[in-house]
Symmetry: C2
Subunit: 415 residues, 2 copies
């Protein structure tokens, strides 16, 4: 007999079906017991009148009759069951997986992730993550973008110089890529519009709630833009697609409205609004104040800050042609935190040579990258969204580790 | 004026439009010249009567009138153009990008990949790759699978012990993951059905046409299977979805038919058919002979070999309960080469302990992985498809490097 998922049981009322899943909970009352079975679609209640109940996390197959029961989850329950145990647990779970709130602290959850993630609330976070990525891709697929998979092993630690992981690569030193930045720009010359969903690596020596040693970066780059505003328009569409995809899969918790026009402030305006301290960057407190301002004045949980000072942006950043010292780079703040960094890039070979020279950087490590610009590149720009950071803001998780599958950090390299 | 793509020009016959792209080729005739402009959608022919023609790979914007012209590519050409150069190349391409066949050997192509990949034939290979991944995902999304992103940094070199890249991880040694095998199995306990598209790393010391140091692995794992045959059925659907996706995007070259029932041979039958040499594995010559057999006898370019000897499969492989010494593991051969490895896995904790013990392996490095089985896991199995190998077979490329974006191998770590 083929298996029926818990969420589909109502369609089978009055009939005998087979379900399969994990024993989520046993509830023994005076004259009857309930076995709650968990599968990938939800929970099913099985009414048991006699015999032993298999312990929590046993894998079972249950053949029984579906009957309507207004009190049961989903409005149906299974009666007169024949229960087959497919697999018995050798150990009890580290905490009760059936409690509505996770009854364990974060270190316990992370140490026991292979079983802890079975908790419906923790599983839901990863479902939100998957739905977000699906919405990201669908939006870009619909806009003529091509998906790419770029090398994660690179010959030199170019982009920032610091915080890279060295790899013993057949006897010489390679580095784990900190971002697909150079590759996605080069591929604009091939496909005009590209995206990548992939791991990036940061040897981040700080133990904070917002940094991971590996995270999933959602990278976009597009050519033939007027300036950074065309990039921001694509980002707006992508965010909208991600939110709709999460909503479509039934995770409506705390989803933001993505306004048609996300409010945008120039860096100098942002500074004036939050107290100009002369720093060429925004402090976390200023980011929070700007998010509050956008919500108050524009009803938006998103706010763009454009025109960051050139001195704080990477060498490939396109300057604002009208405001010396300022760039066509932007950040997107979401719920008080920087979520996305992006901007227009330089596209002329001579501009790259000048930018590297100005920063006192040699040309040789960038040879392959620069060759793309030597052969004609259009005005272009792009952005990167940190997936775990996005999910942690969406699901209101205080620590980005709660949005990652088996997070890696300064201290954690397993499970 | 908003930009029109080359492929959409026929819809604008009689009107003035603006296109943008790269100068693909200049053709000077006696009384007229043609400028062929390449964009992400194809080529457009511009008729030029006077003035200098910008060199190949210049980035241009052309405003002109669309007129029907049966001889022109796409049946239209652009006349009375106003040409704006957005970006000038600083160097000539390493070879002519407009020749129908790539006029360069593989090392030249790889050394100059950032510009070489602009050649339509090379770009098409990467488009086939993207379309394949899209079909892979769509098939699994439609079958209740959840996409995951697993760690690429792991604490021990468990799965094979050899061919791993060591990483300096905050002063201790980590390793680049050779596959998401353990993670995807653990996640069966959470989502039942999962997939991942991501990089895997093999410190492959051999310089062959079929090995890469990094490749893209399409990984699938599903629970509640009867045995490996349920896994093979999902693989068949996935392959069909991949082929249809490539066909849908217009790449019909050499696409195989995926039969409703892919022919399958037991390992012992495969050996008997190709000359039993007593070896517990198939030689490349035997794989080719089996592919020829399947094509001849069943008209299929795919053939399954099931029941590989346990001794040649990893410790987590489920044995065939009816044939001691043989496994529920399979390979899928495609056009003479192993394309997919998969099978049913052990699912009981005690079986894992016994399997490790039998191979003389310690339990400690597997602690996190084993904990999933200690807490109840269903019968499950899965498979992995090497994306570059798939694309190289589809597009009939003799070297897998031709199907990779910026390949990494024993000697190559750039561009």
């Amino acid at each position: 007999m083929s298996r029926v998922l818990s969420a589909a049981l109502t369609e089978h009322a009055g009939h005998s079906v087979t379900i399969a899943g994990w024993v989520h909970r046993r509830r023994r009352l005076k004259s009857v017991s309930f076995l709650i079975v968990r599968d990938r679609a939800g929970l099913a209640q099985v009414v048991v009148h006699e015999g032993e109940l298999p312990p929590e996390e046993s894998v079972v197959e249950v053949t029984a009759t579906v009957v309507a029961s207004p009190q049961a989850p989903g409005g149906v329950e299974l009666v007169e069951p024949e229960i087959t145990v497919l697999s018995e647990p050798a150990q009890a779970p580290p905490f009760d997986l059936f409690r509505p709130a996770v009854p364990a602290a974060l270190p316990t959850v992370l140490d026991h992730a292979p079983v802890a993630l079975r908790h419906p609330a923790l599983r839901a976070v990863l479902e939100i993550s998957g739905a977000s990525v699906s919405g990201f891709r669908a939006t870009l697929d619909g806009a003529g973008f091509t998906e790419i998979h770029t090398p994660k092993l690179v010959a030199s630690a170019t982009e920032s110089g610091a915080n890279v992981f060295p790899v013993d690569y057949f006897g010489r030193t390679a580095y784990l890529a900190q971002s697909p930045q150079f590759f996605k720009q080069m591929m604009v010359g091939v496909f005009e519009r590209v995206y990548e969903v992939g791991p990036v690596f940061r040897a981040e020596p700080h133990d904070t709630a917002r940094h991971l040693a590996q995270y999933t970066s959602l990278d976009v780059e597009l050519g033939f833009v007027r300036d950074h505003r065309d990039v921001m328009a694509v980002l707006r569409e992508v965010l909208s697609g991600m939110v709709e995809s999460v909503r479509h899969r039934g995770h409506a918790v705390g989803l933001p409205h993505v306004p048609q026009e996300i409010p945008a402030l120039h860096f100098t305006e942002a500074k004036a609004l939050t107290g100009d301290d002369g720093e060429p960057d925004l402090s976390p407190a200023q980011e929070r104040a700007l998010s509050e301002w956008a919500l108050r004045e524009h009803g938006s949980e998103f706010v763009f800050v454009t025109g960051y000072p050139m001195v704080k942006r990477p060498f490939y950043t396109h300057p604002d042609p009208d405001r010396p010292g300022y760039s066509n780079g932007f950040d997107l703040l979401f719920r008080g935190m920087e979520l996305v960094t992006g901007g227009q890039r330089l596209h002329r070979y001579a501009d790259y040579l000048a930018a590297l020279d100005e920063r006192g950087e040699p040309v040789e490590p960038y040879e392959g990258y620069l060759s793309a610009f030597a052969h004609g590149m259009p005005p272009h720009g792009g952005f990167a969204i940190g997936l775990e950071r996005w999910v942690s803001r969406l699901a209101d998780l205080p620590n980005v580790r709660q949005a990652a599958l088996f997070p890696r950090d300064l201290h954690r390299l397993s499970p």
